[in-house]
Every structure is written in structure tokens, then in C-alpha cells.
Amino acid sequence: MRMSRTETRDEWAADRQAVFMTLYKKCFPSVARYIAKRGGTLDEAEDVFQDALLVFYEKTQLRLVQDEGAYVFGIARYLWKKRYREHQRQTSLDELMAGYHGEEQGNEWSQPAEQQIVSQRVVRILHAAGQQCMRLLTAFYYEKLNMVEIASRFGFSGSRSATAQKFKCLQKVKQLVRQKSLQYEDFVE
């Protein structure tokens, strides 16, 4: 499984949705059965499975892995045990995953505690950078596209102009983060 990297942004969004739909239908039943057998609820299964898909995406970017079903199930089982059996419901996804030694290592999200996640406040603040800027920046820093792929998706003449725009957008975000004095604790869910 691998998403095409030459399509436009709308096509890409539909493609990503289709890939996750396939993954959901393929992998959720085994995760749901596992959690149900251990006394969990459907809501808990949903939360655990979606976190597992996030981790899977961040580790693989949907590039081919040998057995994605087993991979996702392994992450979900680990998260279930950590979050519900060890009662770490308030622990962030990155902190939980820091102890995971599954199929792949080296994701910066799984490293130090300060390299952490989301809050709706951060999302709201960064909206001020503009939708196009945030799409470009997340395409590079979250989806890990290279600049040639970004130039193609966003209609730039080449990777150099895309890079110039990326740094302009990064400057905007940096200023916003600085103005609001966002600290790492703001990124924790």
C-alpha cells in the first residue's frame, strides 16, 4: 500500500480517506474483538484503534509494510494494555508510545517528552497562519512529503519556490508560537 505522490491535493485527500477506510475495515474487527473480550467498550476500542492508526501513519506514512494488520493490532494491543490495564488514561499518546518497541524505531514523536502533541488551543492559534500555509507545513513536517511532491501537490513551479514558501509559512508559525508563548505543555492533549 502506498499513496501516489503525483496527484493534486483534493485527489490526495480522497485517496488518504480511501486508504484509511480500507485499513479500518480490515483491522478494526480484530482490535474490537480483543478489547471486547477484555471488558472494554466500543468507545474505548474506537479511541485505542484511532490512536494506533495515528501511530501507524506517523511511523510508516502509509508506505508498504509487510503485514499492516498485525502491525496496527500490535500497536493497539500495546496501547490498550498501557491505557486501560495500567490505568494511564491521562497519559499522552507519545508518552505511552515511548515505551513501545514494535516493528520500527526512530520516530521523533516517540522520543522525548517535550516532543509532544496537540491541543485544540494550538490548532486554533495556528489557524492565523492561514489554511494554505498550514496545509503546506503539515504536508512537509507531518506527512513527510519531499519538496518535489509538495511543489506538485500545491502547484508550485518547482521545489525551490515551494521551499521559499515553506519557510515563509514557518516564519509565520514561529511568530505566532512566540507571540502566544506556547510552551510544550500546550501541545499535550
Binding site: P29, I117, Q120
Partner: protein, 89 residues
Amino acid sequence: MKISLNEWQQRENCLLGDASGEQQALFEARQLLDPEFREAVHWQRAAYTAIRACGRAQLRSELKQLHQTLFTTSEHRTFAEKIRAFFRK
């Protein structure tokens, strides 16, 4: 302070672990010696974290929407019933 595209790229390489050992060492040394530079690097690192947070929030929102579709539309009724059956005592 306005910085060149080249400078942006160098800083980014150092922050994302793509720089050579020599570049990285110079980068670290400059942070020790130049408080203004150190502060700029701090906010750039925070910007990366915030951007990734937004990427994750967007994907999480898409996954929630997808779950909603699977469990509320007739097209996927068989799938939803199969899952719900696991949770019936």
C-alpha cells in the same frame, strides 16, 4: 531578524537531524554563545512541534469522521453490526 533561505535551510537541517557533524557542532556552539540565536532556535523547535500537532489533530478528526460514517450509514450496516456484536454480553 530576517534570515536567508540558506540560513533557514541550515537551521532546519540541524533541528531535524539532517546536518553534517561539523554543521551540527557549529550550530550547538552558536546557541551557547548567542542568546538571541538560542531563543530563535527555541521558537523554531516549538513551531515544528505545533505544526506536527496540527497534522495529527487533522488526521484524528478525519478518523473520527470515518468511524462515524462506518457506524451510521446503511452502506456499512453489516460491518457495524458485526463490531457491535462483540460488545453484547
